[in-house]
Amino acid sequence: MAGTDEDRDQRELRFHRLYQAYFRPVQAYAVNRLGPVDDVADIVAEVFMTAWRRLADIPPPPGDRFWLYGTARRVISRRYRSASRLRSLLGRLAAEQRPKEQLLAWAQDPAQERLLAAIGELRPADREALLLVHWEQLTYAEAAQTLGCSVNALGIRVHKAKARLRKVLGTETGGDRPCPAVIKPNGVTDGS
């Protein structure tokens, strides 16, 4: 029966588990896309608000994590519809918006500055695939599930993104090294 106290308790218990498990990953996702800006708290709030409203639509673990990432992606793109604005945000991230006490060593590394700038110049679909794999640490299969594409398509996007980064950043990143994107059936990747 819908609407009983028992249902309400079940619902809240499920949401509590979700919140405890993924509050930090969703926050990390938002920081990874926007940098440590004030909007991160608003984005996390909107993602979990959506999760509370649509709890019945959220798949069981491990799919719930990908559902939350997908929701966070949509929330961010809705807020920053303009691609140029997103690029400028990433550029800002590469420049002066980081808390200095936390990021002092990182900010002094010009190679990472260039890497962030190069990531900001990637095609959005390639960049998202790359960041899900390398920053959110998803397997190719998990990232493909998050983006709603095939594992092969995901692998191609990551491969293209990395090839582009190697080209932009030059030889210190192993640009002459072959980069096979071998995808095992379980979605675990080798060699790229």
Partner: protein, 97 residues
């Protein structure tokens, strides 16, 4: 340096300390969210799709009607007005003779 190592090290979230779900801000957000009643989201979603679907169906129906009317040789949709038949004038008997 290897690109994978560089990428891993460049993740902004690794450079900042993130709040946990038990931080005061997170607990406050949790209370705010769960204080809301479960929304009737499915009903709203049905309504959201029903209006465009009905509009599309109406437009498709009107287009089909116009297209059928424009096809050469298709039966006229408005019947022609019936001719009023008037009885022939009576023939004069003198002529017959």
């Amino acid at each position: 340096m290897d690109l994978d190592t560089m990428l891993a090290g460049a993740a902004p979230a690794r450079q900042v300390s993130l709040d946990g779900p038990d931080s005061p801000a997170a607990v406050s957000l949790y209370r705010r969210i769960t204080a809301q009643p479960p929304a009737a989201a499915p009903a709203r979603r049905r309504g959201r799709f029903a209006v465009p679907a009905l509009t599309a169906a109406a437009v498709a129906g009107a287009s089909a009607t116009v297209a059928l009317a424009l096809i050469p040789g298709s039966p006229p949709r408005i019947p022609a007005p019936r001719r009023i038949l008037t009885p022939p004038p009576p023939r004069s008997s003198a002529r017959r003779r």
